[in-house]
Symmetry: C2
Subunit: 343 residues, 2 copies
């Protein structure tokens, strides 16, 4: 009888690992393959980084409340975020779409208007792509390309014990934005006459619908003379990403709950939903902030900075990966990041 | 009232042009964007070429008769073909898949076994990708990367009047393979007891199910000291591709029906299906052979070569794009390439 292992028993990371375990890197220019935010290719006097993402309607986005122009914008930004997470400058993208005839030319023009807007703002060129039909819905696949000096690249794996853990911006806002949108969708489905209640939630909605990638942080760190020892972008939630850094770097960590940067709007709406704001910051996805480690020697350069917050530090591997709560109790981390196969 | 233009009124090439017309290239490293087989990026001492394709179940492939391992192999090969069509050496790929829970881990391992096989044979590294779930079926998006010397790159646009038009291998075989598979699928659907009749059609089935990209031709031309003045790979059918070269190069062409290389198996099966073998060679898709132009001065180097055939030449633009039939009559070309939005 044929073996059949269901995909839901694996999880996204387990699946990638399983499928690519028999592959080798044989080209001298292949510096880094699967396993970081982007692949790394040697181009002679610099490295090129390449990252790719696929977004599926009904899985990653819901056009019943996401304006299609915002979707185009976000699809680009999400990919650029992976490039910046290598401490690289994004330069080009390719965009492929599969689309059912439910979509009109005008809808696709809106999608590409959003893509173009992101390209202009981030100074990235659209250089290629593919358009084809799908039997159901919209699929967007984007590949982003960037460049970085060979001595400037930041991998997930460079973190050392006692390095400080830093996060840009604030956390949990995109997650709370999603909760509001889903609530309003439910209300609309139950009674289409009711107007949506979207007052006082502008910031969290924008973080969900039109996130930005932290190109500015890459430039800023460069200006400060700080080279991250490890870096990742926060797409699946802080805890999930910290665990990636720890595993790749072979270290443990301590993250302090009280240090987590949370916007007041995120905090207030979390309370309205009877959610713990810290839990939203730790596990909410789609922040697209940068999480990175720096040497203790760089502490003075970053201390008190309005664009980034020190939230903890790496420890020895044996101490494990922990969140220290407000009463000083260590809680071991469990990934609660998105798993698109667990529905 | 909102405007609504149906996609089926556009065609694939019309759609790409429309969607990308507002985009500019601003990065100094972006040498060539949308409009050739691959984008071209300046990497300092060489060019990098980047090509991307999306394959959708039910549109580009039918798993009821395509073994999933062959699908993985073919998906890679199709992309590499675009890299070779720039006269470049393929070096890396990324593979993203969206997959419904109809698929088991074992099925995906088969898919990746095919991908790995192609990677090994063409000496290409898998360096990245994404896996996610889909609501229906399988979508595969592959980006292929290659390198080429700056004075060795072949664009679609370099053809000149009187250049000779050359095609590698033979034409129409993959198309006839598809006809056989579709016939057998119909027979099976009508009566599952009947065994498929696949004798004497091995070659055309292999051309359809497991095509190869013409890496060998790139090396061979290099050895011969022949630099193509323009080049494209044949995915949508010879006529469609010749028209692309003519439009990009600003020339006309004359293709001689009697010169078209057609394998005897393709010829025989076309006759069985009461199809004109020349029509299959001119308009059948998925050959993945290379079509290129060379200077008349290179005629002696290519003449009588068993791996490539001179099928015609470029003319002045005013003479139009013509197929010369066996009685010497010129017939103006009309593209009959695949249009995935016209079903």
């Amino acid at each position: 009888m044929e073996n059949r292992t269901e995909l839901e028993n694996l999880g996204e990371f387990g699946l990638i690992d399983k499928l690519t375990e028999g592959f080798e890197l044989n080209q001298p220019s292949s510096i880094k393959g699967v396993g970081d935010d982007a692949a790394v290719i040697d181009c002679g006097d610099h490295y090129q980084v390449v990252s790719t993402d696929m977004l599926v309607e009904g899985v990653h986005f819901d056009l019943s409340y996401v304006p299609i122009q915002h979707l185009g914008y976000k699809a680009v930004v999400v990919n650029l975020s992976d490039i910046y997470a290598m401490n690289a400058e994004a330069t080009q993208i390719t965009v492929s779409i599969a689309v059912s005839n439910r979509f009109s030319l005008e809808a696709l023009e809106e999608l590409y208007a959003g893509i173009n807007r992101a390209c202009k703002l981030y100074n990235v060129d659209l250089v290629g792509g593919d358009t084809t039909s799908s039997l159901s819905g919209l699929v967007i696949s984007i590949t982003a390309i960037g460049v970085v000096g060979k001595d400037q690249i930041a991998y997930r794996s460079g973190g050392k014990e006692n390095d400080l853990l830093v996060v840009s911006g604030n956390l949990g806002a995109a997650f709370m934005g999603l909760q509001v949108l889903e609530r309003e969708k439910q209300i609309f489905l139950e009674n289409p006459e009711i107007q949506p209640m979207l007052e006082g939630v502008d910031y969290i909605l924008e973080r969900q619908l039109k996130p930005e990638a932290r190109k500015d942080i890459i430039h800023y760190l460069n200006d400060l003379g700080v080279l991250p020892t490890s870096m990742i972008d926060i797409s699946d939630g802080l805890v999930s990403e910290v665990m990636h850094l720890c595993k790749a770097s072979g270290v443990g960590c301590a993250i302090y709950d009280e240090k987590l940067p949370i916007d007041h709007e995120t905090h207030r709406v979390a309370r309205d939903f009877e959610l713990d704001p810290s839990t939203c910051a730790l596990n909410g996805g789609e922040d697209y902030e940068l999480l990175f480690s720096i040497k203790q020697a760089d502490f003075e350069k970053v201390k008190g900075n309005e664009f980034m917050t020190i939230i903890g530090h790496f420890t020895d591997k044996g101490s494990g990966m922990n969140v220290i709560d407000r009463s000083g109790v260590s809680i071991e981390m469990k990934a609660q990041g998105w798993n698109h196969f667990n529905g």
